[in-house]
Each structure stands twice: as structure tokens, then as C-alpha cells.
């Protein structure tokens, strides 16, 4: 093998790369001691890493090109028939040795299966039983409507074509009880008789959880009287019982029946008329 020829330019370039890296690393230390600065930290770290990298790359490419590539045999897994037979035989005879005692073998299988089954049970500890928790929320008859901050909502809170997020009193921020309260011009609503009874003075409340994937419905398009989900653009017609009019949501938003109570404070007369959120198997 011939000794490498002197390659002054390449050596100089590599040396410069390593020197640059060294300086950047020292700079990083000083910068850290001085309090740090994200952009400079990233840049210096990139120079420190990239400097060594560039040096090594040039080294491998320019100073090692006298090292020849090699051609080597591949390790070819090509067992002979005899080897295959003997391996298969070993497996089989061993298995046969166990299976031969049929009763003991069956006992072993039964014990193993039972142990495996028993080992599954602790999985049950991971979560609460669903029960009917998906069917109900914290809205109860007489629950007063409050905002996310806990302030009571009255029939004077909302102007026409505006909306707020409401919760049952005492449960502000509750995930499954979140509802949107919208005021539309009276007479526009086209709900069922029970729906109309729960929507006084053009005030109508629906679950805020999209029936598609459960995102909170954040957008109210006042002109079209539509609620739109920011996640997948499911759109619901507020005037027509929040039926889905566009997008992947398959079913209407549940309505929260409300009345105007004492001093104009809005109250729920019960829970939503259907389970909130996306569909699930046992949904009734």
C-alpha cells in the first residue's frame, strides 16, 4: 500500500474546520456563562458540530482516497438440506417429547392460559368504568347558566347574533357540559315543539362539543346562523336544530333546554336531549 501523498490544501481546510469548531465551542461556553441566547446558541452549536463534521468528511474523502474499496463475499444463508432436516428434527423431537405426555401437556396449556388470562385483569385498574358517564353531563333541572368565569348569564347578557360559552353553575370549565348560547332574532328558529319550548326569546343553547371528533365549536358565522368546527370544518345550522349542513359531522348538536328564571337569569330545565360529542357503540 502506498503511503498517502502530501495534500497540503486539504489538510489546511480540515485544520480550519476543526479550528472553527473549537472557537464555536469556546464561544458556547462563554455564551452560557453570560446568560445564553437561543439564536446564537443554535448557530454556535451548529458551527461546532458542522466544523468537526466538515473536517471529517474532507479527511475521509481527500486524505483517505488511497485506501481501496473492498469486495467481500456476502453472508448467504443457504443451509444444506441435511442441516435443514436436522434443525427441523431437533425442534420436532423436542416438541414431541413434551406432547407425548398428553395429560401433562394439556394441564400445562390450561395453566399457562389461565395465568395469561389472570395477567390481563390489572388492565382494568387503568381507568374508571364508563357506566353511563357518556350519556349524561352536569346539567340538571334548574341549573343556572354561568360563563367560563362563573358569572351568571341573564336574558340581557347577549345581543342578537352573538354567542357565549356557558356551563352549569358550580361546574364552570366542565368539559362535557360546555354549551354555546346563541341569540338569534325571535321567529327565525325552526325547532321541534319541545325544542322551541327550551329556546325562549330566540335564545338557544347547544352542546359545544362537535359530534364529529369532539373539538369545541369555536366559530359562529352570524350571517348564516351557522356554528363551525375549527378542526374539520363541520358546520351546523343553528336555526334548524343544529343539524349538520357541511363537513364530516354525522349528527346534530344536542340541544340544552333553557328557560328564563328569576331576575332574567337563564336556567336549564334538564340535561341535553341526547348524549354529547361523537358517537360511540353503546349510545342509546
Amino acid at each position: 500500500m502506498s503511503s498517502p501523498a502530501p495534500r497540503r490544501p486539504a489538510e489546511r481546510a480540515i485544520g480550519a474546520c476543526f479550528a472553527l469548531s473549537f472557537l464555536a465551542a469556546v464561544g458556547l461556553i462563554i455564551l452560557y456563562a453570560a446568560g445564553g441566547q437561543t439564536q446564537v446558541e443554535g448557530t454556535l452549536l451548529a458551527v461546532a458540530l458542522g466544523g468537526i463534521g466538515a473536517g471529517l468528511a474532507v479527511w475521509a474523502k481527500r486524505l483517505m482516497d488511497h485506501l481501496p474499496d473492498e469486495t467481500q463475499p456476502r453472508h448467504q444463508p443457504a443451509p444444506t438440506d441435511a442441516e435443514l432436516d436436522s434443525a427441523a428434527d431437533t425442534m420436532e423431537t423436542g416438541l414431541e417429547e413434551i406432547r407425548r405426555r398428553r395429560f401433562l401437556f394439556r394441564m400445562l396449556v390450561a395453566a399457562g392460559a389461565a395465568l395469561g388470562f389472570a395477567a390481563l385483569f390489572p388492565i382494568r385498574s387503568l381507568g374508571r368504568a364508563p357506566g353511563d358517564s357518556l350519556e349524561s353531563t352536569r346539567w340538571t333541572p334548574g341549573a343556572r347558566l354561568v360563563t367560563a368565569q362563573g358569572d351568571l348569564v341573564t336574558d340581557a347578557t347577549l345581543e342578537t347574533d352573538s354567542f357565549i360559552t356557558v356551563f352549569p353553575e358550580g361546574s364552570a370549565g366542565s368539559a362535557d357540559s360546555q354549551a354555546v348560547l346563541i341569540r338569534v332574532a325571535p321567529g327565525l328558529l325552526r325547532l321541534s315543539p319541545t325544542g322551541m319550548a327550551g329556546a325562549p326569546e330566540g335564545l338557544v343553547a347547544y352542546s359545544k362539543i362537535c359530534t364529529h371528533a369532539g373539538c369545541p365549536l369555536g366559530l359562529y358565522l352570524a350571517e348564516e346562523h351557522q356554528l363551525r368546527c375549527p378542526c374539520h370544518q363541520s358546520t351546523f345550522d343553528v336555526l334548524d336544530g343544529a343539524k349538520p349542513v357541511y363537513g364530516p359531522a354525522p349528527k346534530p348538536l344536542p340541544q340544552l333546554p333553557i328557560v328564563v328564571g328569576v331576575d332574567g337569569v337563564l336556567e336549564a330545565t334538564g340535561d341535553f336531549d341526547r348524549p354529547v360529542g361523537p358517537s360511540f357503540w353503546d349510545e342509546s
Partner: protein, 475 residues
């Protein structure tokens, strides 16, 4: 000295021959083989930066009042997890660069893994005997998506909380067991306080352990089976030609590692990513708009946005809308991907061992299907950010969706057909898609006119080109 160390080792482990062979092991050189290395080194960086972050992260959704230096959030009630990530970002020295590098490294990890997969696919490098390596690679892809998803859910910000809500809804939609599965995994009805600690242990222990194990198996197989290589002079099916590990390949590979990390450091320092202080902490009744996941989840999000509003009612039970787009379809995609080598072998009737990498043209049907698949993913990724895209293009989202729904069916077959034709033509014509027209020589005749003389390109040129093009065994 070194000799003595080697001897000591050998007396205990019989390691000399392994060491000697390993140090000389030849690695074929091709730029596209870097993609797998980049993935590996991005993973190493993820572990290093991730360890740093675990020292400061608090895995709890218990409320606390933010008292840090970021003025807009001061005095607000946020979760301890969110609070701790704000602390990493604003108070821990070099915390923000570490956090941003971690996130960028995750994106580099996933991008390079996808690029690596595409390379292996189009060169047929997954064929026998490398089907297991391929299947493990697909498992790594799924594991990478899981790692990414659990990771960006940890800050407990508004964006990631919305993503979790969608996953919860997808689990709910599974027939028979959906409700129970969702309650067991999420600890109860969303959002339960058990969730953040669970995501944390998944993200920092279980999933990395799984990825490390799979990665170890993947690399062991690559090492044991040796690389595929492209055809060329002196190369055969039974040998591998390349740069020996020590010292040249080792230096090159170290350079790749350092470049990868340098790029991530630059990204992490200069390019803001996931600024959770702008999104705010998670509250269940607010959603950010627009909301996009990281790119590897983008196509899944796209399916959700384009899927029709169907729901199945069976014997008094409901199969939710999300079940097909969020559970069944991704399941089918990853199953087909994992089984691709055996599917292709069966369809092509080719069960032989292959150590030569192919060029895409050598398998026009596979290349066509690959191109169709990539097109499908790209359309879905665009659909996953249709709101941003619509704003950018200044069109209505609804109208854009109509187009995307059309594209998702029409564009993949078109891309596949075009690819098939290109591959077939390339195979027929030879090396280059565009070649110089054959030369024509005119000669002036004695009468003053011109006549054309046949002057074919030199035969030796043609032969060399053909040989390089087709290679042995190519159809």
C-alpha cells in the same frame, strides 16, 4: 498496547475474528444510503435532548398559577405540565434551544425515515432476504408517529389538547370495546388527570424502549445480511463492494452524524417551533384555529377532513364516523406497507434472493403504485391543512375541499399511469430519457447536390450504454 487489549478481549469473548471482520466490513457507497443514517443519528439526538428535557418537565395536569417572566400569561391558572414547559422555554438556561432542537430532531427523524422508506421501496431493496428488515422498518415508522404524537401532547397546550381529544374520539368509535378502551387508556372520560403522566411514561420510556429494540433488530439485520448495492463493473449478486468500516466509512458516517446534528442545532436555534406560549394552556372548551398537526399526522388529519359524514347503525348500536377514517384506513395502509414484500413476491411470482438494488424503471408496476401512493399521501396532507391552504389561495374552504375530494381519487391513478409510462419508455430507450438525435452526415456530390450517408453511432458506445442500463438479470 492495542494488541494487548485485543488479545485480552479475545481470551474472554473469542472476539478477534468478529472484530477483524467488522472493522473491515464493506459498506457500499451511494448518497441514498445516507437517509437511514440520518434517521439513526436524529434518533440519537432525540434521546440526548430528550434526557435534558425530562429533568425539568413536570408530568401533571394539576393546576398552578403561572408566575414566570412571560407577561401575557402571568397570573393565569395553567397546568403544571404547561408551566414547566414554559419554564424550560423562558427560564432554564439553554432550555429553549434544547426544546426546539428536540422538536426539530423529531421532524428530521420522521422526514428522513420516510425518505429512507421511499428509497428502499423504489429500489426494491426490501426483496428477499430483507422482508423482515422492511417490516421492522414499518413498525419503526408507526412507533415514530406514536413517539411524535405523545411528545407534542406533553406540553398540555391548547393545540395538543385538541389532538388528544380527536384521538379519544377515534378510540370511542371502535365497535364493541371503544368506550372501555377509551376509558382505560385515557383513565376516564376526557380529559382525565391520569392522562399526562401516562403520556409521559409512554413518551420517555415505553415507546423509546420499543424503538430502540426495533432499531437494534433492524441494524443487526442490515449488518448481518449486508447492504444491497447498485449494479456496476465488478459487482455481483454474491459479493458486496464498498468502503471498509475502519477508518474511512467510520469517518464519513461520523461526518453524517455531525452534519445532521448541526442542521438540527441551526433549526432549533433560529426557527421557532411549537410556540406553546402563543397557543395558551389547554382548556377543554376552546380550540385553536387554524389547527395543524405535525406533518407525519397530517395525512391522517386530511382523511378526517375529507371523509363523508357517514355513520353506521347496527342492531341498535352505532359505529361512529371516525372508525373508518381514523382506525380502519390507517390500519389497512400500514398492513399493506408491512406486507408489501410478500405481496409483491406473490404477484410477480418472484421468490428469489436479490442483493442488487433496482432502478425504479426495472419494476414499472411497483414504481407506478409507489408514485400513486405518494400522491395520495400528499393530497391528504394538503387536506390536513385545508384551512391554511384556503386562506393562502384565497378560496372558500368548502370549495377547496370539493377539489381535494376529487384529487384524492383522480391524481393517484394519473401519477401512477404517468410513472408507468415513463418507466416503460426509459426501459425501452436505455439510460437517458433524452438523448442526442442520431447523427446524419451529408456529403456533397460531384454534381453539386447533397446526399445523406448512413453513419450510425459507434457500436461500442451503444453496447456500453446498454450494459450499464440493463445489467444482468434485468428483463
Amino acid at each position: 498496547m492495542l494488541r494487548r487489549a485485543v488479545q485480552e478481549l479475545d481470551e474472554r469473548l473469542d472476539g478477534t475474528s468478529f472484530l477483524r471482520q467488522s472493522l473491515r466490513k464493506a459498506f457500499p457507497t451511494d448518497w441514498s444510503f445516507l437517509l437511514g443514517e440520518v434517521t439513526l443519528y436524529a434518533f440519537v439526538l432525540l434521546i440526548l435532548t430528550g434526557i435534558f428535557l425530562t429533568f425539568f418537565y413536570v408530568a401533571s395536569s394539576a393546576p398552578t398559577t403561572y408566575r414566570g417572566p412571560y407577561a401575557p400569561l402571568q397570573g393565569q391558572s395553567v397546568s403544571q405540565a404547561y408551566d414547566s414547559v414554559l419554564r424550560i422555554s423562558f427560564e432554564v438556561r439553554s432550555g429553549l434551544v434544547m426544546r426546539q432542537m428536540h422538536h426539530w430532531a423529531a421532524l428530521v427523524f420522521m422526514w428522513s425515515m420516510v425518505a429512507h422508506l421511499v428509497r428502499v421501496f423504489f429500489t426494491g431493496a426490501f426483496r428477499k432476504p430483507r422482508e423482515i428488515t422492511w417490516a421492522i422498518g414499518v413498525a419503526l415508522l408507526v412507533g415514530g408517529i406514536a413517539a411524535g404524537f405523545t411528545g407534542y401532547s406533553l406540553p398540555d397546550d391548547l393545540l395538543s389538547g385538541t389532538g388528544l381529544r380527536i384521538i379519544y374520539s377515534a378510540v370511542l368509535s371502535i365497535p364493541f370495546a371503544g368506550t372501555w378502551l377509551a376509558f382505560l387508556f385515557f383513565g376516564g372520560e376526557f380529559p382525565a388527570s391520569e392522562l399526562i403522566p401516562r403520556l409521559f411514561i409512554l413518551h420517555v420510556l415505553l415507546i423509546p424502549l420499543l424503538l430502540l429494540t426495533l432499531l437494534g433488530a433492524h441494524l443487526t439485520l442490515v449488518w448481518h445480511q449486508t447492504h444491497t448495492q447498485h449494479r456496476g463493473p465488478g459487482k455481483t449478486e454474491d459479493t458486496v463492494t464498498g468502503t471498509p468500516v475502519w477508518p474511512r466509512f467510520a469517518l464519513k458516517s461520523a461526518a453524517v452524524a455531525l452534519f445532521t446534528w448541526a442542521v438540527v442545532a441551526l433549526l432549533g436555534g433560529l426557527f421557532q417551533i411549537n410556540p406553546i406560549w402563543l397557543y395558551g394552556g389547554f382548556v377543554p372548551y376552546e380550540a385553536p384555529s387554524p389547527a395543524q398537526p405535525d406533518f407525519y399526522a397530517g395525512w391522517l388529519e386530511g382523511i378526517l377532513r375529507l371523509w363523508p359524514n357517514w355513520e353506521l347503525h347496527l342492531f341498535g348500536h352505532t359505529v361512529g364516523n371516525l372508525f373508518f377514517p381514523a382506525v380502519v384506513l390507517p390500519g389497512i395502509v400500514f398492513t399493506i406497507l408491512a406486507l408489501w414484500p410478500s405481496l409483491e413476491a406473490r404477484v410477480a411470482g418472484d421468490h428469489g434472493v436479490h442483493n442488487f438494488a433496482q432502478r425504479p424503471r426495472e419494476a414499472p408496476l411497483r414504481s407506478a403504485l409507489g408514485a400513486a401512493g405518494i400522491t395520495w399521501f400528499v393530497v391528504l396532507m394538503l387536506a390536513g391543512s385545508n384551512d391554511v391552504l384556503a386562506k393562502y389561495l384565497q378560496v372558500e374552504v368548502d370549495r377547496l375541499n370539493t377539489w381535494l375530494k376529487l384529487f384524492v381519487f383522480v391524481l393517484p391513478p394519473v401519477a401512477g399511469f404517468v410513472t408507468f409510462r415513463i418507466c416503460r419508455d426509459l426501459r425501452r430507450k436505455g439510460t437517458r430519457p433524452i438523448r442526442a438525435p442520431s447523427r446524419v452526415t451529408f456529403a456533397r456530390t460531384a454534381a453539386g447536390g447533397f446526399e445523406e450517408r448512413a453513419d450510425p453511432p459507434s457500436a461500442s458506445d451503444e453496447r456500453a450504454e446498454r450494459a450499464a442500463d440493463a445489467g444482468p438479470g434485468a428483463p
